[in-house]
Amino acid sequence: MNAMTEGYMTADGRKIGGVLMELKNITLRFGGVVAIKDISFDIRDGEIRAIIGPNGAGKSSMLNVISGFYTPTEGSVWFKGYQRGPMRPYQVAQLGIARTFQNIALFDGMSVLDNIMTGRLTLMKSGLLSQALWWGGAAHEEDEHREKVEKIIDFLEIQNIRKTPVGRLPYGLKKRVELARALAAEPKMLLLDEPMAGMNVEEKEDMCRFILDLNDEFGTTIVLIEHDMGVVMDLSDRVVVMDYGKKIGDGPPDEVRNNQDVIDAYLGVSHD
């Protein structure tokens, strides 16, 4: 297949690259329940791609397929031009796909710093013996990675809580730490499952700023699920709309906004 088709320019003048991930005819079944029905779309390099839809539309399942946590029943996932076979989740992480969760999944017993350092696990190579002795390799590596982690801490403005156990933090900060942990892996592609859920206006604005900045500065491709339409329409370059496991719209925000199927799905008409 010809994965690297040409990119496009966004309205605000960013250049979007070729296809990074392509999902072809994805179907996902759990027993008799069909969560995703024959969906195809692509994600381009450097793009902010949103997946929206009413509750139960299959958005999170879609994200789990992308992250490799679910293997699709039918269809194929192509990443960087190669078809991806069934993988264990930790192998996907090693490919450079990181994610955050709808319900925060931080390690409560560990400090903020340690949580973010776990994000770099796939990049740290020192062996058991070197760490046991804490001699040369391991200690040196720890410092190196600490420096990178500190940059992310600066970027997300969480310097003052770096030694606090995560369990003691309020919700908004936990979300930010989770983003930091995902970023620490230096992912090619970042999956955000409802990054703004339960936040107030200021926290949402902060989070939007972080998402745009990291896309801009690190060139990270971002796939996000979000219910706040204002945020989605502002942030994303292209939007996939799902309803009852089917794709009912795909395109730039303006186009999706005026799509009759999408309006119907959100405002509610009788399904035949």
């Binding site: 992480a93 969760f101 999944a105 390690f107 560990m110 046991a132 804490w134 200690a139 600490r146």
Partner: protein, 358 residues
Amino acid sequence: MFYREAGDFKTSYREDSQTFPIKFDRLRFYAVLAVAYGVIPLLINDYWANAVFVPFLIYSIAAIGLNILVGYAGQVSLGTGGFMAVGAYACYKLMTAFPEVSIFVHVLIAGGITAAVGVLFGLPSLRIKGFYLAVATLAAQFFLVWLFNKVPWFYNYSASGQINAPDRTIFGVFVTGAQTSAMAKYMFCLVMLTLVAVVARNLTRGTVGRKWMAIRDMDIAAEIIGVNPLTTKITAFAVSSFFIGIAGALFFSVYLGAAEVGEAFGIQKSFLILFMVIIGGLGSIFGSFAGAAFLVLLPVLLKNLLVGTLGWPTDLAAHIELMIVGALIVIFLIAEPHGLAQLWRVAKEKLRLWPFPH
């Protein structure tokens, strides 16, 4: 007044992540080391060595080992006694088969053999969690004790079924056998404990430790981040069993001298060490020391108090002592479920502000 971070500026990440970032803590740690190595060996006698120090040092090693598995990696184990028995019997077989090799090497190899056995019994942890894993490790406990009872090869076909530690020396000083001095026993165990504690601390502060804690706190999220649950749980079992094996080898060769597996390494031992870890504090190296000290010292203290000071009959005192220890454990866990280590942390936080309340 004296316990302050103010003015103590860190200029490198290494300085910031050291074990004792506060200067006062660091000094106190050196003072404890100096006393342990410089003062106690000169004052120690047989009673103090056998009743207090040697069991405390050995149980500390075992508690650190179990704490890595239960406290850091979150995998419950009731097989500690069985794994200590593996260490003891491995050490015995090595000592009798290769008398010319140093006992120090034997103890380490015994740890290695225990690590291998621990990995074997840790494999079910990939499929089962929590109470079910506890039951699986309980099977290890009973199986290992049964094995060492039933297969005469392990106790070199001795008529009594016991294993007896032959005399061995390090640098010409007896460390096992009847001629061993209190000081030699103490020093040997102290050196082993120091090594174990340093290695445990290094492992738990680095990548390996973070992987363990990630698996403990939320295993699914850990896996998505890139933690391989198989290797992580297996290393936890291996490292934990390695330390427990060392503790078992020392317990038999240095402390007991002669051992019968069901008596020395029965299920009570598993529970005792688990209690040490819980009372001391899960997921804390200091907690392992504190828990071991608590459960070793408390009975000695009570016995001295009841028999020595109050003059009660020995048998009555022995039974009362069990009840008091049990009651204290319950009261303690209600008052501070996170163990002695948490009390210590709270005390230190208070001390940072003391004597000013804000």
